[in-house]
């Protein structure tokens, strides 16, 4: 039995649940954690949950578009992480912390 068939035996709804749960873990992490590096990791988790879902749908429907999309997401996530970490270094130089509690300086 090929690998593809094993994947097809798992119902698609299970993939949907799994990636929704993973996504929710990332989402709540972004909302409730205070350390900017953890926030970056949580955002990665959200994106990877999406990647899993795309791959599952793609395999399931026999359509390659979804898997190509995953590559685009990975590339963009890497670019985004590079810029995000650079911004974080900038912030750290000026404030000596990586805590997002710093984000309340601007108030109307």
């Amino acid at each position: 039995m090929s690998l593809l068939n094993i994947f097809n035996q798992v119902e698609i709804s299970h993939y949907i649940y799994l990636s929704t749960v993973l996504f929710a873990i990332g989402l709540f992490g972004v909302l409730f954690r205070r350390n900017a590096i953890i926030l970056l990791m949580c955002i990665e988790l959200m994106l990877n949950a999406v990647n899993l879902l795309f791959t599952a749908f793609s395999t399931y429907m026999g359509d390659s578009d979804g898997q190509i999309f995953v590559f685009f997401i990975m590339v963009v996530a890497a670019a985004e992480a590079a810029v995000g970490l650079a911004i974080l270094v900038l912030v750290y130089r000026n404030t000596r912390k990586t805590d997002v509690s710093f984000l309340d300086q601007l108030k109307g």
């Binding site: 795309f54 359509d63 999309f69 985004e80 911004i87 000026n94 404030t95």
Partner: protein, 461 residues
């Protein structure tokens, strides 16, 4: 396509031009190439020239280059040209930043002409990632740092939500192409337990939330005032105009695809639109800083444009074009006067405007025209834009139009502050305004669009 081509290669040149020290020459180069992009796209839209060979390089199911797309590309390039032109004196930040701004503009072009969700996603990211950098361009300034980090976190977060929506749509419709998505929710896999209606509805909601973050509509607008206030002025204007217009075009194209199931998304979008209009206008009333006031005013304008999403049917795109153009021109005008006043007084409260009428009457008149257009008072572009929008929306969502009118009435309260400080207050500071010719020409465009909109719309559409 030609705009994308010209802008991209100019941006590459500008990125390398940082090695050279003659910055003013290169900012002129940026402006010229943007106006050339705008003119060529405009010519393409009216079929005066054609770049068929260039466009044939792009697969037709990825991006399309119809008249509408060319006109929006022309709008975006034209406005960016003015942004760079008006803000070239201050913040001498180097040519690489002009390059980044133009890369960001390339993302905006992709967002207005996408046919495939990969291109939409890439467009949003190409638009956003340079802006994260540009928002933090004042490296020593804590406010700028904060704006940059906040914009980055919100941008990445909203991208995640948007992508989950994309994945759901992909599962529900079996395709990522706009054309295919509209025709068939593919039912060929329905028997194996794919909950298709749930997937499509959840997908639309999640993608909309991602885009509502980008256009700063309530309740996803909380980042906008801080980011707009902390960013360098040039970046703020770019965010308030280009990002908003491009995101709304992308949004309208997406929702138009799902026009067949409008009932499922129109209701909550109406509520969010009304909320955005009221929230933006009411919050703007209490602001002391000019930049924050304009940020909340741009949130309110996002609310009016949500109204457009509800009436868009593919034939009335000119309303979005006209609204976007008049809003962007007025924003650039008011922001650049505020920027010059800020440069001289070091103060970003309304007091910076004190006594402009005495010292520079021409600038005061120009300011009045810009602010009246943003408020939507007759014989200005903003009035006509709102008039067309509201009169078309009246049949579909009468009570949202009511809220829009109420919001416009409230908005006079804070727009009046500009007049109060410019005309009624005195100040001892010396004031010099440069670029008066440009300010006057922007004001003339606003008045022309206000006085004879049909002459111009017929010329364009």
């Amino acid at each position: 396509m030609i705009a994308l081509f010209v802008t991209f290669f100019s941006a590459v040149i500008l990125l390398f031009a940082g090695l050279n020290k003659k910055e003013s020459a290169f900012s002129l180069f940026a402006v010229v190439s943007l106006f050339v992009s705008a003119a060529l796209s405009f010519a393409c839209a009216n079929q005066m020239v054609s770049f068929g060979m260039l466009e044939s390089w792009v697969p037709a199911n990825m991006m399309s280059f119809g008249k509408e797309q060319h006109l929006f590309a022309a709008l975006l390039a034209f406005i960016t040209g003015f942004v760079i032109l008006m803000f070239r004196e201050n913040e001498n930040l180097g040519t690489d930043q002009l390059g980044l701004m133009m890369f960001s503009l390339c993302g905006a072009y992709m967002m207005v002409s996408y046919e495939h969700l990969v291109m939409l996603f890439l467009g949003i990211e190409v638009l956003s990632i340079p802006l994260f950098v540009l928002a933090g361009a004042n490296k020593q300034n804590l406010a700028s740092n904060e704006a940059s980090l906040k914009y980055f976190l919100m941008g990445a977060f909203s991208t995640g939500i948007f992508l989950l929506g994309t994945a759901f749509i992909y599962g529900g419709t079996g395709s990522l192409e706009l054309e295919m998505m509209g025709i068939k929710p593919s039912f060929m896999h329905a028997m194996k337990g794919m909950p298709i209606p749930v997937l499509i509805n959840a997908g639309i909601i999640l993608m909309s939330v991602g885009l509502l973050f980008k256009v700063a509509a309530a309740p996803f607008h909380f980042w906008a005032p801080d980011v707009y206030e902390g960013s360098p002025n040039r970046t703020t204007v770019f965010m308030a105009t280009i990002v908003k217009v491009a995101a709304f075009v992308a949004f309208y194209r997406l929702l138009n695809t799902f026009g067949g199931i409008k009932d499922s998304w129109a209701s909550w979008l109406t509520v969010l639109g009304g909320m955005t209009i009221l929230w933006g206008n009411l919050a703007a009333l209490g602001q002391k800083s000019v930049k924050r006031t304009l940020a909340f005013s741009s949130i309110a304008h996002a609310g009016y444009l949500v109204m457009f999403l509800l009436i868009a049917d593919g034939t009335n795109t000119w309303i979005l074009w006209f609204y976007g153009f008049s809003y962007a021109i007025a924003s650039v005008l008011v922001f650049s006067i505020a920027n010059q006043a800020y440069q001289q007084t070091g103060d970003f409260s309304f007091d910076a405007f004190n006594g402009i009428a005495k010292k520079c009457p021409i600038v005061a008149v120009v300011l009045v025209i810009g602010v009246l257009s943003m408020a939507g008072i007759p014989i200005s572009a903003g009035f006509n834009a709102k008039f067309y929008l509201f009169s078309f929306a009246w049949q579909h969502t009468p009570w949202l139009v009511g809220i829009g009118l109420l919001g416009s009435a409230i908005s006079v309260g804070y727009y009046f502050k500009f007049f109060k400080h410019a005309f009624l207050k005195e100040s001892n500071n010396e004031m010099q305004f440069v670029d008066r010719g440009l300010l006057i020409s922007l004001a003339l465009i606003i008045v022309a669009l206000g006085a004879m909109p049909w002459a111009i719309l017929n010329l364009v559409f």
